[in-house]
Symmetry: C2
Subunit: 468 residues, 2 copies
Amino acid sequence: MSSDLSAPSASVHRPLVVVSNRGPVTFRIGDGGELVAKRGAGGLVSGIGPLLVDTDATWIAAAMTDGDRIAAEQGVIEAEGFRVRTLALDPEQYRMAYDVVSNATLWFVHHHLYELARRPRFDVRWREAWAAYQAINEAFAQVLVAEAPPAATVLVQDYHLALVGRTVRAERPDLRTVHFSHTPFAVPDLFAVLPDDIGREYLEAMAAFDACGFHTTRWAKAFADCCARHQIAAPATFVSPLATDEADIRRVAASDACQSAGQRLRATIGDRRLITRVDRIELSKNLLRGFLAYDDLLERWPEWRGRVVFGAFVYASREGLAEYLAYRQEVETLVAQINGRWQTEAWTPILLDTGDDFPASVAALRLYDVLLVNPIRDGLNLVATEGGLVNENDGVLLLSPEAGAFERLGHAVVAVNPFDVASTAEALHAALSMPSADRAVHAGRLRELAEERSPSDWLREQRSAVEP
Amino acid sequence: MSSDLSAPSASVHRPLVVVSNRGPVTFRIGDGGELVAKRGAGGLVSGIGPLLVDTDATWIAAAMTDGDRIAAEQGVIEAEGFRVRTLALDPEQYRMAYDVVSNATLWFVHHHLYELARRPRFDVRWREAWAAYQAINEAFAQVLVAEAPPAATVLVQDYHLALVGRTVRAERPDLRTVHFSHTPFAVPDLFAVLPDDIGREYLEAMAAFDACGFHTTRWAKAFADCCARHQIAAPATFVSPLATDEADIRRVAASDACQSAGQRLRATIGDRRLITRVDRIELSKNLLRGFLAYDDLLERWPEWRGRVVFGAFVYASREGLAEYLAYRQEVETLVAQINGRWQTEAWTPILLDTGDDFPASVAALRLYDVLLVNPIRDGLNLVATEGGLVNENDGVLLLSPEAGAFERLGHAVVAVNPFDVASTAEALHAALSMPSADRAVHAGRLRELAEERSPSDWLREQRSAVEP
């Protein structure tokens, strides 16, 4: 099942290599010592995975499991229809690069999450983590240098791998390289929290790609503004929002698992209205204010007491970081408080489902009257389009302008300022009270916009950014 | 001692009215029931107070004391050389406007202080505080409408009073109005945390002044960018950094109180080097990372142990807000930890002086080898120029580029990224190690720049912005 990365390409395009932290497949070691492949999860894999199955594209990703490490020794492996090249990395180095730099620094910088009076604190130990981030990036770069097919197009995904382009440009000028950011990009005043030399290195490294892609013009502009502030010539940038795979999400919606989850949910909510949210338990997603707005709705519009349920399908994330554990506890405490305040024998105001059950989440998207997507800052947000595609109830989407998805969907949604709890409560009331004809118009517009783009548009636009 | 606000002007200019939250004088009730005036403190008063003494300018400010409230009934009062008009305001309304809106919202917004995952939360109660802020602003506006001399120039100071211009423009078109911001101005992505209608109202109200002034081009641009995002036509803007009054600060430096404080300080530090900071205990001032950098200095350069003292002259601020009490405790705990780690019988590494003794602070400015001014975001910062004017030791200024003062002083200082603890430690070491010839060049340049501007430049530029 092993093959060579430089196998001849059957594509009319240049050969394609995708590079990301997490790959489309993970391996475990079977009972007989053999490698057993399993499809991975995550937005990127579900978004473009189907497009790369049974193509000659190669996907390079960090080894996550013991099986992945064994697979790494075998070079490219064909599994689950993918050509996968896992990369065995030093575990402590990887942990520092991933936890300390990628997730606790770059993610926080681009999402404006720091409480600046206290964090970040770039000390000598943090510099060691940055060295680890450099080393991990360099390990990816060296695999590309050694193994990428001649003249390939290389699509590097996200902030974990922002430095890969430098070495590749220097040592493999035949390759065309793209960096695509799935996050927002910090505005210059907040990008400036990074140590000066490191901010500069990060931007210069991104500028070493042939093109940098973003989900919105807003993030692309922030990147260009940061380059301008550092007097770095920005590379070609392009804007290409990822999209939900319509066929894929409809397949899930029609699945037995989703249908029976829908029946269970319907049995629970009865003839009440349903507000849905589907999110990782993530600081940028703004779960707390969503629940506070719901509490305010019940406070100020007593007619909704007992007549609405908030179905929160939220699942754990990054629990290796203390910040995220604390946030999860706050979420659970707040939900318990609000339920304690309003619940009756027959009615639980908030259903908090942390089971990370995708079919159950899709069932909640099929059935919502109102979908709440109110992040404080979000690269794109695919829940908005997933909801638009599978909802069967002419539901209304409440969408934060701080979600990248707003740039394309703004005319089909009700905008909610994520910091404005009172206005969010008012928007919930207005959406729940909306005449059915208006709901149908909203839902129809959203569906049209969601159908308008597909992951293949996104993939094609990435390639065409460097394949003129 | 009472007189009329519309007394004829002897000025060659239009009559002048200054409006600010805090006035130049407060009153207490004497033993015989009479009003006893006392000069107030604060940057604005010490900056432009001397320029307005014995002029026909009138200063309108909120009543802070019982004496001020009695004074308010008498209209304009001449006291300490000022013509003062205090304004009696509803205490609860004032508290909501001042604590909740001005200090816990607008200050946080413009200084980028929020931890956005959790704060702010604009709820129904916050809307009541905003109504109070509107009412307080309207009370100031109504005094101007009723009492400002014909064709006066009105200089409204700071974010507490951003809404005053609207009513004045509508009802007293003969007046020329300026709003001057002593804070930074938030960039659009962070100004957007305000509720949409309120952000718009705030910007439209500022646009109702004839001109808006800022300490730096950077804050003026952020304001213009916010207006552009809301499609509001920005008013005339001008940039005019306030300056330290050279004569005034030299007078303090030469005073007996300052001289004896200097002797005491010198006796304490002996022949050790002195790092000085002078600040309010304020979230934006970045005290914690300053101490952490000093700890790192002692850790990485053992030669400084026992040979340097960090004199931190910091004083309490806004202790009505829980945030500030908590921050003060963190500061005190951290100082105790660092002292506990390094101190010897003969040497206390950090002198934490929270006595709010201005002559003692100026003594520390006279004697510093290194002055640390490392705010995370600061409208201007006058400590930088005060230090430059009175230092007698060819000391080196370490200044954050996030302080407005950096725009004018940048070439005379060592820049320190306020979030970069390791680099700040390196800058402390480099400054302490700097050859005396280089120190003299630094200190000389800083002194020249500090002497270049005076408060009267600032006052003149405010007037000329609307008196063509």
